[in-house]
Amino acid sequence: MDALRPSSHCRRSHARGSTRVDLLLLVAALALPVVDWLSGGLGLIDPMKAIFIYAILGLGLNIVTGFTGLLHLGVAAFMAIGVYSFAILTADIYPFQLGFWPALLLTIPIGAFAGFLLGGPTLGLRGDYLAIVTLGFGEIVQDVLRNLETITKGTQGINPLPPPTLPLPTAWGGTNGWYEFQADTPQPWYYLFLLFLVLVVVANRNLERSRIGRAWMSVREDDLASKSMGIPPVKTKLVAFATAAAIAAFAGGLWASSLSSTGEPSNYDFQVSILALCIVIVGGMGNISGVLVGAMVMIGVNDIVLQKIFSWMAKQELTSTGSVFGSPNNWKFLLFGLALVLMMRFKPDGLIPARKPRETGSARSATVRPKGEAS
């Protein structure tokens, strides 16, 4: 037990520190629409929604990959399950026709159930085998959504989907006592997304410090040792997996509502899973604040910074159509890839590395290669 003392102390003060980061981010996020408004519309509010959604998705994935140490390459599949179940529960071409709130709540158990279904038989698998199972599941879900036209409308997409509603008197902008969110008024959406993000962050922080959270990390550090301490690894992993699936499905439901459409099944392909994974790793595996920063950097750079730079270039007539090199759009993959490589090169533990119990976590990464000693 003596050996644990310094680390638990360090984790406590670390938690204090990250709470501070969280609060600062929250203050910045709350202030952003005001800044945006004061400066006459920077167009930052709308793209921020994507950052919030990916942050929620990343936080879900962080439970599996960050806390529990499992490589998960199919988180988009659970998002798609959330998107499509939200759509089927709400759209007026289906019999259920629920409202926004009950449907969004239902995505959570549906996602969790899907997580159990996949995780149950496969979570005993070793790391990279599990990775390909999740990857394969992602492909299967996409194909099933595409092929089962009678239920999912195939590639047509399901729309329109109901926006959130709030009980608000007419004086406050409601009609008949209800305020309905509008697609082109991003501020209410912004704050709603932010609220959900905060809820997910708080839930994650509590999970991180809870018994199950400690069990996750113990499984990550040492599967066998946890078993001997009475933590059943497969069951523990399953809870992590289902929780992540529930969060991803929830993010999906929210997203579908904000788009008022499911889009196509291919909008939830492998690239989304990879992006979520990159957010978790670039931010700092296992670190909640890291995931937030990761989402901000990864989506912010792509959706905001690059967009602004490119439209500035277009205005300065720096672009041309003559050759493949002339259009900035043709450089996007390269810039994105280069950013990933450089970030990993110079911050291999992520932008905000998680502090693991040092005796085990760091010792492993400091051996020649992070690899178990075969003997």
């Binding site: 040092r358 976590g361 760091s362 400091a366 075969a374 003997s375």
Partner: protein, 241 residues
Amino acid sequence: MSPMATPLLAVRDLRAGYGAIDVLHGISIEVAKGEIVSLIGANGAGKTSTLMCISRVLRIRGGSISFQGENITDLLPDTVVRRGLAQVPEGRKIFPRLTVGENLEMGAYIRSDAEGIEADRARVFTLFPVLKERLSQLGGTLSGGEQQMLAIGRALMSRPTMLMMDEPSMGIAPILVARIFEAVKELRSEGMTILLVEQNARAALKLADRGYVLETGHVVMTDSGAELLKSSRVREAYLGD
């Protein structure tokens, strides 16, 4: 103990660690040619880290290492072996899915003198005849003691000037432990310099010319093997008396 004029291996003020934690806080060790020097200490005292630093596997944060009068602090692990400093690592670390023969071949990786290699192989087989019987068996199928013999044999295949051995007796049946210490003596009689890390302090100090006692990353005592065996501090802490 008299100061050595030109020690074969000289470690000065060595510092190293993992992540944010320092495990070696300035270790200084010297080994003269032909000596057996033993490092003893509790679990986590830094014995294995010291050897890994000398083999240049673990990153060094301060201090220097010289071997045969040359500074080897900035070398890569494979070059250290080429300079004649081999290690039998803790837990054997044989290659489980290579045959015994292939394991030995890997030991001679830096060499290309076919005849010399053959001669050294024969020497290993005289030292540990059982390896010859197991020649085409996979390393992972050997018993713990046999694996230890293989690990020692493998290290010898590079024809080192000095051998570092990390816990050769760990997890091995007593009868085989005796055989291994026997082999260490034999090697010494052939003029091999040995730096021995052992948990079995009594056996190690009996064998050693000199010893160092490590505690939490510091050298706390150093003396001849016989003197250390007599020391009350050592007796209490490491010999269970």
